[in-house]
């Protein structure tokens, strides 16, 4: 039965999904099926050694270390109070609209996305700052929670983005090109979320009160107070795009400056310094276990020849590429129902990436589309990680309420996806114009 690597490949894939459903951690399931599958093809002696060469390669790579650096930067920025300042900044300009706090939340999520690489971290941070305030002022619970859960996904789409770095390393695409490609889609995301909020409060005015307009003196004061967050975002993004820093230097500079800001503003205590390190460590560990598992599994996938066979099979069907793309979108929506972003990315990449290249699509463009469609899964039922994070932080908010609040944002996400697929130039123009394609 195992004489045919292709059959072994299919069985391995099935075994991996079975283990995942049986509550084996995703990275472990990939790593174990990968090593057993490789063992059946090349012998268990050599296959087992992959459990050292692959982790040691990932763990000593500066590229992967960047992921930990960006997580560190986001945590130090939060310790330094930068997330709260962002929220205030967005509020003084948007708070006077109907649903002003919701607009401010979405805006602050996008801003925090520029100094934080993760979707869950953005949602959790903003939940702590914006949720109590919205509930206090009589905003509908569903709208308040939904906007934060959805706004959190901006953390992964607005560069820097951990999952984008992962995609860049795994597919050997330029991380800078990917970051640049995500800028316009990030702006579109914010605009579409604003439109969604606008429609909701228009149709249901009780969902959100009208706030007071901040006087210009107040706006100026708050704007000046937000110098630190602007400095950090400009140093990191500007540093990368202008060519002053490499990506890894930018992440290190970002983490260092965020730490110095927290010290300088006397916000750093031993307790929150340790908590910031602990949180960075927990998330780094989680990501690395998946990177290690995925790298062993993708060895198995290559050896089995399954990805190549799948690609030529699909190409042999003679379907129009666009239809294949639509089927992939559907596939990712289903996958996103269960998996978190990084898991969905590393699980599918060995199979989907060659297919996308085979269909003649641009790898950088696909990086953006792939992240957008997988991020959609973070807020869709039954398992939407961001929704769970909010529920975990405010236990009196039922899951059903949050999922209800997320619905308008899901429509906005789907609309964005359609626009980005229809007009690839929205993603590719900027990196192309800056010479990164």
């Amino acid at each position: 039965m195992f004489s045919d690597p292709f059959v072994t490949g299919l069985l391995g894939l099935a075994a991996m999904f079975a283990l995942i459903v049986l509550q084996v951690p995703v990275g472990i399931a990939m790593g174990l099926t990968g090593v057993v599958g490789c063992g059946l093809i090349i012998g268990f002696g050599p296959a087992l050694t992959l459990l050292a060469t692959e982790p040691s390669s990932a763990m000593s790579s500066e590229g992967y270390a960047v992921i930990a650096m960006f997580l560190l930067m986001g945590n130090f920025a939060h310790v330094g109070g930068l997330s709260r300042e962002l929220y205030k900044l967005a509020y003084v300009y948007l708070g006077h609209l109907r649903g002003g706090l919701v607009f401010a939340t979405v805006g602050a999520c996008a801003g925090f996305g520029a100094i934080c690489g993760s979707s869950v971290a953005t949602a959790a941070t903003m939940a702590r700052i914006a949720l109590p305030e919205m509930l206090e002022r009589g905003y509908a619970k569903s709208l308040a929670a939904g906007s934060i859960a959805a706004g959190g996904t901006l953390g992964m789409i607005v560069p820097p983005s951990v999952v984008m770095i992962l995609y860049g390393i795994l597919t050997e695409n330029s991380i800078i090109a990917l970051f640049l490609a995500a800028i316009v889609p990030g702006v579109i995301a914010v605009v579409f979320y604003f439109i969604a909020v606008f429609i909701v409060v228009r149709r249901n005015p009780e969902a959100a009160p009208v706030g007071e307009k901040a006087p210009w003196a107040e706006r100026r004061r708050v704007t000046i107070q937000s110098w630190a967050v602007v400095l950090l975002a400009v140093m990191v993004s500007g540093g990368i795009y202008s060519g002053i820093f490499t990506v890894s230097e930018a992440a290190s500079v970002g983490a260092s400056v965020a730490l110095l800001l927290a010290i300088f503003r006397r916000r750093l205590t031993v307790k929150n310094f340790l908590a910031a390190l602990g949180d960075t460590a927990a998330n780094t560990g989680m990501i690395f276990v998946m990177i290690i598992g995925a790298s062993v599994f993708s060895y198995f996938a290559t050896l089995s020849g399954l990805p190549a066979a799948t690609v030529s099979w699909i190409q042999g069907l003679g379907l129009p590429p666009f239809l294949v793309l639509m089927l992939l979108m559907l596939f990712y929506l289903i996958l996103g129902a269960i998996f978190d972003t990084i898991a969905a990315m590393v699980l599918t990449l060995p199979f989907v990436y060659p297919l996308i290249l085979g269909l003649g699509y641009d790898p950088v463009w696909w990086g953006v589309i792939n992240i957008v469609v997988i991020e959609l899964g973070m807020i869709t039922p039954p398992i939407g990680i961001n929704v769970f994070v909010l529920h975990g932080m405010a236990k009196d908010l039922p899951l059903s309420t949050i999922f209800r609040g997320v619905v308008p944002f899901i429509f906005a996400d789907v609309a964005r996806l359609v626009v980005l697929i229809t007009f690839p130039a929205l993603s590719l123009w900027l990196p192309g114009a800056m010479g990164w394609l």
């Binding site: 087992l48 992967y64 310790v79 330094g80 702590r128 269960i338 398992i383």
Partner: protein, 181 residues
Amino acid sequence: MNTAQKIDRITQNAAVIGFSGLVVMALLITWDGAARYLWLPRISGFSDYGEVVFPIVIASCFPAGLLRQTNVTVRVFGTLGGPRLHAALEAFGALLTLAFFGLLTWQFIRLTGQFESGGRTTRTIGLPLAPYWYVVTAIMAVCVPVQVYVAWSWIKAALRGDTPDIAALRDAEEDLADFEG
């Protein structure tokens, strides 16, 4: 303080100490980057230090993650069935995780042995790899007893139909994120 919390304190300290190394690397990389523009002396063979420090940093967070079970897991069945089914599935996942880290440790010992006998060094300034990888391997080895404890806790829980102490550590993880200055 129960046993789970005592072990948690140790693994958490290890992670925090390891990740202090990440902070130091961030500051050094910042220095090296700034030195380029300020005409300050550069650090020779700088990437060599990362090559040996990053593995130790990354390894240091594995024991804590195993104990708190923060690894991404799809818990569909467990939440549908009763506590006994949940504990049984957790025990199954924990045992396979134990097998995985056992194999990792074994292979890390082999790899470090190969580094040692081959006299392997970093690329530019020739730091010997083996001493650093002994540290990494030692940390990986710590993962094994930690995971034995996790698996054993869930097996007991499955037999008794209750919830083990380590389940509470995962909730502690969420509270920890609340650390604004």
